[in-house]
């Protein structure tokens, strides 16, 4: 098949900030897909439009044309997210490619996610092309880094293109290597249709859109297609490619990367990882799909203004349209009222979602402390899974609890090994091994409880290593652990939204830190308010907020009643941000404050 020989499907993987997006931009520019002048503007415009529609294309595929030795090639670049939380999405895009560019920062060298991403690519049988970026930096140590890649990742790197994506240096080397090194796709137009849905997003006009890689056969407007997993049949209304904007084409054939629209009403009808085939002439066997991704971090999200529950619900539904990994279900809290228990791929994912709710949907929200999924074995033999501390059964009903653990690898200059080990120790880590990558870098492996990682681990690691260490982890099952629930009582009343599950050795410190923090955050009330931390019936820490003594003794300016009234109206608005536990008013920040206890004061 001559046509296939002119196609290269590839992605770019890298540790965060090693220059993935910059290189992608350069490739688009160099191939003339977009004029330099238009790039910024057009890309931004498109983003804004997408935002209006409530969509974001996370894995953006871009089709580029490139002439090499007189022959024209089609290069399909599939963008990937660059954070450990989204490893799953990276692996999805890898399945649609034959090659992966592995970018490594010339001064930083191999980092935790360099390795993690490289392994993902190897697992997916991709050809890996290492590229050394940022050679313009004075601190660049290009040759050493090449050796590092060979030693640590275990792939040849001596002929890796050395580039500066920022300055546009040696970009053509990369393009040439893509053509030369990456295999062309295999496939047969004559066989029954077989495509992989590697992502989807929602368009208000066209419905759910599938991002696909065609492996066999072809698909065009009017075709009847079948989703092999869901069994649903649709008429294709549009096919196209991204240049980088959606542009409809007549047909997509084997080897192509593009999109497919068929008036699918809801995004949940599109299973990412599903195989699309022809309804008339179906293929026998689907492509190997993906496992459904499981959220690992959970928290409650509540509207600050209880009346905005429905708005929050609609916003989450909109986000879910383009983010199948986001999970949520209704939750009722005594303290916070109606809201949702939400599941995320990691802390970053959690942050992104909450930020989008606030920025794009203009919602004021309260998030409760992030938690993991626990396995609680009860004395009656039943096992329940929960992430919400307030759902934990009473102590006598619990036989034991298991918590999720992760295998973590940390890359660091050797001088920080002590600090990192101390941190991992504090976080209940179990040391596995340590190896020198070269004289300047060490890789340490630990097994850590996930619950400790989501609690201030990244920040501590960063501050204790001055930002030099990098970190990656993968979920590694469940382990028994001595966990207890610490409750917070305000004026003697339990505040469910402030409960946390912690290891028993830390309960005391956390309880004390929590009460101290709350004392600072909760404003004085009309009467004295005791804040207590308790395990079961036992009080482990106590603080007291003394009663408010004054909020106004100033003159009611002559007859200027309007000014005074407006001031009060404003204060009243402020009060809407407060939650009431019994007679105690708590600012919404208090609920978030428990996320950040360590490393302060």
């Amino acid at each position: 098949m001559e046509r296939l020989k002119k196609i290269r499907n590839f992605c770019i993987v890298a540790h965060i900030d090693h220059g993935k997006s910059t290189l992608a931009d350069r490739l688009i520019e160099k191939t003339g897909t977009l004029a330099k002048r238009d790039m910024q503007e057009q890309l931004l415009d498109s983003m804004e439009l997408e935002r209006e529609k409530g969509i974001t294309i996370k894995l953006t595929p871009t089709r580029m044309n490139y002439t090499f030795e007189g022959e024209e090639y089609i290069l399909n670049l599939i963008d990937t997210p660059g954070h450990v939380d989204f490893t799953y999405e990276v692996s999805r895009s890898l399945a649609a490619c034959e090659g992966a560019i592995l970018i490594v920062d010339a001064s930083q060298g191999v980092e935790a996610q360099t390795l993690a991403n490289a392994y993902l690519a190897i697992d997916n049988n991709l050809e890996i092309l290492p590229v050394i970026n940022k050679i313009d930096l004075p601190s660049a140590r290009t040759e050493e880094v090449k050796k590092e890649i060979e030693d640590v990742v275990g792939i040849p790197a001596m002929h890796a293109p050395c580039i500066s994506a920022k300055d546009g240096t040696n970009i053509e080397d990369v393009l040439n290597m893509i053509v030369k090194e990456f295999p062309c796709p295999k496939g047969d137009d004559q066989k029954p249709l077989k495509c992989l849905i590697f992502d989807s997003f929602y368009d208000n006009f066209k419905g759910a859109i599938c991002l696909i890689r065609v492996f066999d056969g072809k698909v065009k407007v009017g075709d009847k297609i079948k989703m092999m997993q869901t069994g649903k049949i649709y008429d294709v209304t549009e096919v196209g490619v991204f240049v980088p904007f959606a542009k409809s084409t007549e047909v997509l054939q084997s080897g192509d990367v593009g999109y497919l629209a068929c008036s699918i009403k809801t995004i949940s009808d599109v299973a990412v990882g599903d195989t699309v085939t022809s309804a008339i002439n179906p293929t026998d066997e689907p492509l190997p799909g993906y496992k459904k991704v499981q959220p690992v971090v959970f928290c409650g999200i509540f509207p600050v203004d209880g009346a905005k529950y429905n708005e929050l619900k609609e916003s989450l539904e909109k986000l879910k349209l383009n983010d199948a990994s986001l999970e949520f279900q209704p939750e009722v809290s005594q303290a916070l009222g109606y809201g949702f228990r939400c599941g995320f791929l990691g802390l970053l994912h959690l942050e992104i979602i909450t930020e989008r709710l606030e920025r794009e949907f203009n919602l004021d929200i309260i998030t409760t402390a992030p938690s993991v999924f626990y396995h609680v074995y009860k004395t009656d033999g039943e096992m329940i899974e929960l992430s919400n501390p307030s759902s934990l059964p009473i102590v006598v009903e619990i036989e034991y609890i298991e918590e999720p653990i992760v295998k973590a690898s940390i890359f660091t200059p050797p001088q920080y090994v002590g600090a990192i080990m101390e941190l991992c120790q504090e976080k209940r880590g179990v040391y596995k091994d340590l190896s020198y990558i070269d004289e300047n870098r060490v890789k340490i492996n630990y097994v850590l409880p996930l619950g400790e990682i989501i609690y201030d681990f990244f920040d501590s690691l960063k501050s204790r290593t001055k930002g030099y260490a990098s970190f990656d982890y993968e979920i590694a099952g469940y382990e028994k652990s001595e966990l207890v629930k610490v409750d917070i009582l305000l004026n003697g009343e339990k505040c469910d939204a402030l409960s946390i599950i912690v290891h028993k050795d830390k309960a005391y410190t956390r309880g004390r830190a929590l009460t101290e923090k709350l004392k600072k955050i909760i404003p004085r009330q009309l009467f004295e308010v005791p804040i207590q931390a308790a395990i079961g019936g036992k009080i482990i820490a106590r603080e007291t907020i003394s009663a408010m003594r004054k909020d106004v003794l100033a003159k009611c300016y002559g007859g200027d009643i309007s000014r005074k009234r407006k001031l009060l109206e404003k204060q009243k608005e402020g009060k809407k941000r407060m939650r009431k536990i019994g007679s105690v008013e708590i600012p919404s920040e208090a609920f978030m404050s428990i996320l950040k206890l360590d490393g302060e004061d």
């Binding site: 009309l526 003594r549 004054k550 309007s562 009234r565």
Partner: protein, 371 residues
């Protein structure tokens, strides 16, 4: 009956903490201003011809420093008032004054023209505190002035400031005792507020001066309240204390939602359902421009009724709120407040704020406002 407020925006010098409309002005400006005031008083009934606006029972000349006003101007203004309004037999007529600008001549003139209440800006009897505040009188001067004023007026009120630099509890209470023994019947005690754009704000920002911390001020305020109670003064409003029968009737009008008219620069009025404020710049004021008018709807009336009623002994009328469409009994906080003695539920559908909680009335009021 209508209340009348007249603003005299002139001072010998502006106090360091002052954010009111007051200016140091020359004679010509004072003349022009008086003229404008008289015009406004004369034309008031053209705009407001209703009968209820003819009869007046409280007059308050405030400032600024009204006692700076040359007596001939003062008499002209009073004449204009008498020409245009029917002053009730039982009336209250207050003049605000500064200790250093009073004289036997002035006092006698005020009395002759019908004034029956003085509000004296004492602020403090401590010379250092006064100096810090930028006042031009001293403690002894203030006492002498009060002694002199006592010969003309029975109803004397003193303004005091808590929170000036150098404040001491014992000193403050001694001063208070002195004022009471001089026969002062009414005390307005305010906590010093650092207002934007004042000299004081600048001094504090630059760090050249400091003021006592809030805890200390609250302590003094609480002691003051206690002390005044012992001396037979009732706290009838957040910042106001009076012997029986000496409450400021004019100020009570503000809090009870009664009507009043304001003449002069930045003077406020409440007529019909309209809150009015004159311009706070001379140029605009002279051209009758820059007026602020706000028509109160039910929502605003409800808010005002709660906010004003709870800051003084007048209280809140549940029936009135109900007429305006707010069933305050449905408010979640009210029950708690009543149970804890914060709000006192009187007979005939009235609610009062327990004076013990006057200092935190913002918190309580905002909890009781409708959503």
């Amino acid at each position: 009956m209508l209340g009348v407020y007249i603003h005299i925006p002139f001072c010998q010098r502006k106090c360091n903490y002052c954010a009111f409309s007051s200016f140091v002005c020359d004679e010509k400006e004072v003349e022009r201003y008086t003229q404008k005031l008289i015009e406004d008083i004369n034309s008031f009934h053209n705009k407001y011809p209703q009968d209820r606006y003819k009869k007046v029972d409280t007059i308050f000349i405030g400032g600024g420093t009204p006692s700076l006003l040359p007596l001939n101007h003062f008499e002209k203004i009073v004449k204009a008032l008498k020409d245009n309004f029917d002053v009730s037999d039982d009336y209250e007529f207050t003049i605000e004054c500064n200790p250093n600008s009073l004289s036997e001549e002035k006092l006698s003139c005020y009395k002759k023209n019908g004034a029956n209440r003085l509000s004296i800006g004492v602020q403090s009897l401590d010379d250092d505190e006064l100096k810090f505040a930028g006042r031009i009188h001293d403690g002894e001067g203030a006492i002498k002035t009060i002694e002199m004023a006592k010969n003309y007026f029975d109803n004397i009120s003193c303004d005091l400031l808590i929170g000036l630099k150098g404040m001491k509890k014992s000193k403050f209470l001694n001063g208070l005792d002195r004022l009471i023994s001089l026969g002062v019947k009414h005390i307005s005690a305010y906590m010093l507020q650092i207002e934007k754009g004042t000299v004081l704000e600048k001094m504090l920002k630059e760090g050249t001066e400091s003021v006592p911390d809030e805890e200390e001020c609250i302590e003094v305020y609480e002691e003051t309240t206690k002390f005044l109670a012992e001396k037979g003064f009732s706290r009838y409003e957040v910042s106001n204390f009076a012997k029986e029968g000496y409450e400021s009737r004019h100020n009570l009008k503000y809090w009870s939602g009664e009507e009043y008219v304001g003449f002069g620069l930045s003077a406020h009025g409440f007529l019909g359902d309209q809150r009015i404020a004159c311009a706070d710049r001379f140029d605009l004021y002279y051209k009758d421009e820059g007026m602020y008018c706000e028509n109160l709807g039910n929502k605003e009336k409800i808010e005002e009724h709660i906010m004003l009623g709870l800051r003084c002994k007048i209280g809140v009328d549940k029936k009135y709120l109900m007429q305006l469409g707010y069933d305050i009994d449905k408010n979640n906080s009210l029950k708690d407040f009543i149970e804890n003695g914060v709000i006192i539920s009187g007979n005939d559908s009235k609610l009062f704020l327990n004076p013990q909680f006057y200092g935190v009335n913002n918190f309580i009021i905002t909890s009781l406002l409708p959503d």
